[in-house]
């Protein structure tokens, strides 16, 4: 069986600096894969590339066998790869419900004219999307605020809304960029539970995080980047003791000390 997401030789250069250097990895259907690495290791750049927000300088990536290389962000989203952003984004002036409805409306293949005329087909699609949006708001615990403008949400609640929004279109793969950065421990557990629940419902996820404990808890496979190069790829247990990973996070000397103690 081929993997859901295949990234082959992804490369991104900024002037002289190679931010992502020939990185390849695969994500199996139904998995939660962690993408970790120290600051500046190319995590965010690599997902900006595969979601179309940054042009890649080399490489190829396929979702479910479809080549997404070089497509515009909205085309990649429609192909089934959605993402959240590190700087949490929401439509402040729209209600939570509208925030989620926007995230679904480009995926039902209904054109502008029927949308303008509110045809029966549009009403049915909107009703179905509204039902799904209410379900997702229930899942992330924001159902009480369905009709409130997103501007009233706290930082952690905005992260939950962003996760719900990235699920609205029933994507094949969701990339979450730092879903728990800067969030209090209670909210971290809540977000973890939401991610698990969505995964049980069949969503495949790639999670970029600095919070290593969070990743080790949640993922059965972890990809580690350092200075734009993939240095490890495997189950969390092996990653924890991999000398190259320890060296990347703790420096060479720290890694040696850690191994001696371990």
């Amino acid at each position: 069986m081929t993997a859901l997401l295949q990234v082959r030789g992804l490369t991104k250069k900024y002037l002289g600096l190679t931010a992502v250097n020939d990185v390849s990895y695969e994500v199996e259907t139904g998995a939660i894969v962690g993408l970790i690495g120290p600051n500046g290791s190319g995590k965010s750049t690599s997902i900006d590339c595969i979601s179309g927000f940054q042009p890649a300088d080399g490489g190829q990536w396929l979702l479910d066998g479809n080549d997404l290389t070089g497509l515009a962000p909205h085309r990649i989203a429609r192909a089934g790869l959605t993402r959240s952003f590190q700087t949490v984004r929401a439509y402040d002036e729209l209600t939570l419900l509208e925030n989620l409805l926007v995230a679904a409306q480009e995926n039902d293949g209904i054109g502008w004219l029927p949308a303008l005329l509110h045809t029966a087909r549009v009403r049915a699609a909107e009703a179905a999307a509204t039902a799904r949006a209410r379900d997702l708001l229930q899942t992330v615990g924001l159902a009480d605020y369905a009709d409130a403008p997103a501007a009233i949400l706290s930082y952690g609640q905005r992260k939950l809304l962003a996760i719900a929004a990235s699920m609205m279109s029933r994507p094949k793969l969701v990339v979450l960029d730092e879903p728990v950065a800067g969030v209090n421990p209670t909210m971290v557990r809540r977000i973890e539970a939401v991610i698990r629940k969505l995964n049980e419902e069949g969503v495949t996820l790639v999670i970029v995080e600095h919070n290593v404990d969070f990743i080790m808890n949640l993922c059965r496979r972890v990809v580690v980047l350092d200075q734009g190069i993939k240095i490890a790829d495997g189950p969390p247990g092996l990653i924890r003791s991999d000398p190259r990973v320890l060296a990347a996070y703790l420096g060479k000397q720290g890694a040696e000390e850690a191994t001696q103690r371990g």
Binding site: H74, E93, L101, A115, L142, S169
Partner: protein
């Protein structure tokens, strides 16, 4: 207000507006109504492109003038009917609008603002300096009386009351169309693009497509209203591209609140009456406009629509008594 109440209020408002020429033949009142109808369509078009999709456009007056010149030249030089001339003007505006939009939007929103401004200035220069086509700065005076000929109906559009019906009728259609767009899910996608473009893209929304849609529709409506309006003026000259129109549109949208359909409509009505209330100030009027615009931006950010939005946010932020058993963090 429920949908039903809104519908009744709109019907009552339309009946009142259309009854005015029956109640009075005061030319001044009718002139105010005609000016409100024309300017409100321009402001509504600007609101659609700026208030909903987030593109500050100075090109609207260009569409207004191109629609006007096209209609006049087709009627005067080629003997077309007003209706065909106006329709052709509207279509030409859509084509021009798509060219302006497509060429600049591939760069950025800011590029669009600059290109749209250059476009409007260029229109005025062409109107003045291409006399073979436009008769130059002298313009074309004494435009012919238009006529509507349908089986069993012959309507000569002569009196201010006729123009009042013509322009108010078109304004009603134009605002109806804009309302349909902004309250449909197309309008929701447009607002999403304005509020957070990368997020919208990450959800499959194509910003360029929606912006070109908004731009085409606003160009079409502005062009058509320009065509009707010059026949009421009975003269066309390069002043149809005057910055005064842009300023009136901008003030209407700023005071009404970008992205607020009813707010902008209300502000257009105020802006139709205000110039005459301020007539005693003569040349000081434009200065007062500027002061009003700055004061509105400082004291009343987001206009009427912004004020309503802040009230909505405040209402949700107020602690609400709720069942502790189902409270959310």
């Amino acid at each position: 207000m429920s949908a039903r109440q809104l519908l009744l209020a709109v019907i009552a408002g339309l009946i009142a507006l259309f009854a005015i020429p029956l109640l009075t033949d005061n030319d001044y009142v009718l002139a105010l109504g005609i000016s409100f109808a024309a300017m409100s369509v321009l402001a509504g078009g600007l609101n659609l492109i700026w208030g909903y999709t987030g593109l500050l456009s100075f090109a609207q007056v260009g569409f207004f003038g191109i629609g006007a010149y096209t209609a006049v030249l087709l009627v005067v030089d080629l003997g077309w009917s007003l209706w065909a001339g106006v329709a052709a003007g509207g279509v030409l505006c859509v084509v021009v609008g798509l060219l302006v939009g497509y060429s600049s939007l591939r760069l950025s929103r800011h590029a669009f603002a600059i290109v749209s401004l250059s476009f409007a200035l260029l229109c005025a220069i062409i109107a003045r300096d291409w006399p073979e086509l436009t008769r130059g700065s002298m313009g074309i005076p004494g435009l012919p009386t238009p006529e509507l000929k349908l089986p069993g109906l012959r309507w000569r559009i002569v009196d201010p009351a006729d123009y009042y019906y013509l322009l108010m009728g078109f304004a009603a259609i134009a605002h109806g169309l804009i309302y349909l767009v902004v309250t449909s899910r197309l309008g929701r996608a447009m607002r999403a693009i304005k509020l957070n473009e990368p997020l919208a893209q990450s959800q499959g929304v194509n910003p360029l497509a929606y912006r070109l849609l908004a731009l085409s529709l606003s160009a079409l409506l502005s062009g058509i209203v320009g065509g009707f309006f010059v026949f009421y003026l009975t003269i066309i000259d390069p002043s149809i591209f005057d910055f005064y129109y842009t300023e009136t549109m901008l003030i209407s949208v700023v005071i009404g609140g970008p992205g607020s359909f009813w707010g902008v409509l209300l502000a257009s009505a105020v802006m139709a009456v205000l110039p005459d209330l301020l007539r005693f100030t003569t040349d000081l009027r434009m200065v007062l406009y500027g002061v009003a615009l700055i004061a509105a931006m400082i004291l009343f950010p987001g206009g009427i629509g912004g004020w309503l939005y802040r009230r909505r946010v405040a209402r949700w932020r107020r602690p609400q008594p709720r069942d502790p058993a189902k409270s959310t963090p």
